[in-house]
Symmetry: C2
Subunit: 656 residues, 2 copies
Amino acid sequence: MSEQAPLKLDEAELRGLLDGRWANVRERARDVIRGEEFAPVYGLSVEEHRARTLKQLMALNGTGMPAYGFPGSVGGADDVGASVVAFEMLVADMSLMVKMGVQFGLFGGAVKALGTDEHHQRYLPDIMSVELPGCFAMTETGHGSDVQSLGTTATYDPDTEEFVVRTPNEHARKDYIGNAARDGRMAVVFAQLRTPDGDGGLVEHGVHALMVPIRDGEGRPMPGVTVEDCGHKAGLNGVDNGRLWFDDVRVPRTDLLNRYGDVAADGTYSSPIENPNRRFFTMLGTLIRGRISVAGGAGSATKAALAIAVRYADTRRQFTRPATDSQPEQEVRILDYLAHQRKLLPALARTYGLHFAQEELVTRLHELSRSEERDEHAQRELESRAAGLKAVATWHATETIQTCREACGGAGYLSENRIPQLKADSDIFTTFEGDNTVLLQQLTKGLLTNFKDSFGDLDQLGLAKFMAGKVFETVIERTAAIPLIDRLIDASPGRGEEASLYNRGWQLELLEDREKHIIEGLAGRLRRSRKDGSDAFDVFNQAQDHVLAAGRAHMDRVVLEAFVAGIDRCGDKPTAKLLNRLCDLYVLSVIEEDRAWFLEHERLSTARAKAVTQAVNDLCQGLRPYAVQLVEAFGLRDEWLAAPIALGAEQQRQGE
Amino acid sequence: MSEQAPLKLDEAELRGLLDGRWANVRERARDVIRGEEFAPVYGLSVEEHRARTLKQLMALNGTGMPAYGFPGSVGGADDVGASVVAFEMLVADMSLMVKMGVQFGLFGGAVKALGTDEHHQRYLPDIMSVELPGCFAMTETGHGSDVQSLGTTATYDPDTEEFVVRTPNEHARKDYIGNAARDGRMAVVFAQLRTPDGDGGLVEHGVHALMVPIRDGEGRPMPGVTVEDCGHKAGLNGVDNGRLWFDDVRVPRTDLLNRYGDVAADGTYSSPIENPNRRFFTMLGTLIRGRISVAGGAGSATKAALAIAVRYADTRRQFTRPATDSQPEQEVRILDYLAHQRKLLPALARTYGLHFAQEELVTRLHELSRSEERDEHAQRELESRAAGLKAVATWHATETIQTCREACGGAGYLSENRIPQLKADSDIFTTFEGDNTVLLQQLTKGLLTNFKDSFGDLDQLGLAKFMAGKVFETVIERTAAIPLIDRLIDASPGRGEEASLYNRGWQLELLEDREKHIIEGLAGRLRRSRKDGSDAFDVFNQAQDHVLAAGRAHMDRVVLEAFVAGIDRCGDKPTAKLLNRLCDLYVLSVIEEDRAWFLEHERLSTARAKAVTQAVNDLCQGLRPYAVQLVEAFGLRDEWLAAPIALGAEQQRQGE
């Protein structure tokens, strides 16, 4: 590889390819997120940072960014994809990114998705302008991942036509709620809805959302509302997370967000979705945008850290290379070391793959949001993929930013070089909008049921029953550029040893085969053990590592397909050639990482497994000369990176 | 495993075993590090934190802790081991840990190790009492890992009998120096020593250390000294790191720390070690205590994070287990999930192994420091092992604390729960006192040369030449409890399939065999390529992943042997039995992680590799009931952990 003639990249083409369908949104962000007002900061006190972040949020007014995700009926741009892309572009300060996500995505998004036109007209204009800052009050201290078990109640009182919102115990206090500690005036509160049964008892209708005022115009908590500050956090200290308790707070009947469930004045409950489980998961499904945004935000943080670490490694020198016949003794740029390439370049390749996968996912979300008819299967597939991509993208961010910190040595520990803040801010991304371990399991349940049933619907027992009744067959659903991928696989020489490791068809087939095998093995395991009467919980629990492996294998394939489809859109040959090498590095490092599996299942011989390791080394060395261009293409402004070590300080010092 | 009868642990025995030889030092720390003065903090401004940390450092006066590492001649306790153990016990605030390390370990330690009795008498009493706070000014912006290339110069002027200390360019500014930004009065400055050659030129003698005053009694920089603050960092903000420049600063001749190199009044240089390279590495070798201390400190941070995460996971519940015939529906403790056990328990097992390896290493350091004769081989082995243990212990800390953060969900992101600070503070441990990637390579060079030559001596070219001349044979040197381990290996049934995965002899042999094979393969690779005339740098660089694998494999074995030896010291049978299971979990997860290697090299069949994964799962489930006791045994005071989620907040909430 390293012997080949150098490629001349078309940088504009590459940038355009990465900018993708919402290039205008990215350009807009590059235009407006600049200057002192939006510059990265560190070392502020919590209160200073919160004040700054709120000011930044207000300053987004007039940029058009707040309107992207809202309906045209209230002056929005009705462009869901744009709203997700805008979120990820706010990487200059991730507190602003998350604060924006809370206000427009979670709070505004819930009103939009769960409310009806009356709510839209009443609330959305003030939400867009931030005149009404608000909260998305779902998570409780006792229940984060298990939303269906929330403890807050909203009980209808027909006498006053009000709901009475109550925090029955400490499990049910709302926790980690963004905008709660300082700025929020209202909250979308998720609570167990109950109506009188006419005999002095109550009927439970499951989790619904209501608009509840939490502060008055002077910022004082409303009567019956108790607020506590979550205080200092590892990062994102510009976001004011807090806790909320409701002591019989009364809200008008019309403040139930009633798209999926309504209560008439007399207390009669009605819903367009009869099955309460299905209703619950349908409601949750409308909120999927937040999860997709987090995957994108994690991607931006990863790109920023890589841009800093790669630029630094390209200039920083350490240890001397002895003189040879052809060149004098000189200190070596650290990116010329294989160990350093190994740290950064496979991570860079995966970041590209995840970028293309994210673009596909956003496009899918956007298109589903525009379609008139509801396609249940497509919706469940989107939810599964969103769960999976959020998990792998945020874990990738956490690992990669950590690696970048270490790759920058002591300089990477100084706050002025940005990486500490990127690390601290993005760390929680593996947890919020769904714990990654839980999400990967959701994905696998979707794969096991082939999205035929509302997978969220199934607890372990339900899944076991479902599995027991079926002859299982994995359906590999292509996610991108279908004819191309079929063509590549058809052209592959098959499982044998003959195919080159760089044969794309062979690679695609190998990942597809692994996914299929893991899922089918898992299905068999769940089915078999069901038959011998084991306890469903124990069976599922003992297979949990298998369940997680299935989700990961699926996402590896999804990312590869998206990468292939992305390269197919590239209009410049040398650039596409380079991206193909980068894609090789992605897939061969995926294979290398899991080569024990391929060996155990006789998909790779020992000789071939060793060859994969060598190929990863070769690719690292071959791609090294392009590393800086590859991070430039992300199009992150220098002032967003802000790190002196990435902006010439190192060259300047060496040039003296 | 999970079917076996429960074991009754002897908690005092276990605590005593872990407390080890320096139990009194640990108990002393438990006695004195308490109350508001030493409580963990977060959210302080940099200046507040620095002031607090200095105050804490002063408060150690009277505890006896400062004196541990200093000679009896100046009132010290002459107990090097105690000084290392005391360092690791200061986990309540790692800024204090590091500040103490800078003052007593690095600054004071350099005066002790590189100075002679005159310096000891002149400086050590004030260093112990912190009346003379000081710096260890080695690292420069241009050279961190490559100390031999430092740029600062100290040129002898016979006319005034002074050294002139100079920072010739920006590469040579001292960087990241603890105690420099605020508190330091003097610095041990490492500089290239030069004396006049009598013909108007200079003779270079390599890196030496001098005492240089940097601030006067009022805290103002001394004439010719420029100080800059490194500013806000990811963590350890209680430590005042800074940069130093010297503009022809003059210091008396007698302030050269002259144990390994002296300059007479007339400018004549003399040294007990003739070879300049050997002299350099001998001097560096005396400073090995800092590196060993860091490995211990990383261990404490890991233990604290695990103690918090395990206690929380033992009480926190999420998702409901359906009712069975024998028990009603209930919410599941998250530590009952296999995926959660997999996150925490193998990490816990490795933490135990590293603890025992650290105890061995400290003991070795302590004994060598007391021996009259210098044993070159033993010293080099100690340095190699210190490099390797520092690398694996600090990487383990970084990974484990990250995992603990995620395992605690949103609660793990709140500063009140301690994990964010542990993460941020310990993050730099992979970099300071030697970059881990560089250190692992040093270790492997030591293994390749079997410590016969001063391994630091050899650059790539030197190593290639060394390898070329030898028929290489790995010598596996046992590091602990030699007869026991030989006995276990002798009793092993050998490489075949017959041995139980739990057979200790088989496990020991497997890790030993892997290490030997990797090192011999590497030696062959370096030797072969030398023969065909390749460039030594390229050859070594292309084998860098192989070099790192060799170091890791060695350390895996060293840790296993220490674990086995530790269990052998346990006086209570059920406790030893449990530790044996924990040791199984350690070694089987090491094998699982690298099972691709064992498959590729036909050390494991595919069936056996799969059985390893199953055994890790079984061990996790079997050890789960003892997890809380196993973290209790670390003996970290509740007030050091300080995290509400680990101290009853979760139980209390559930009990309401």
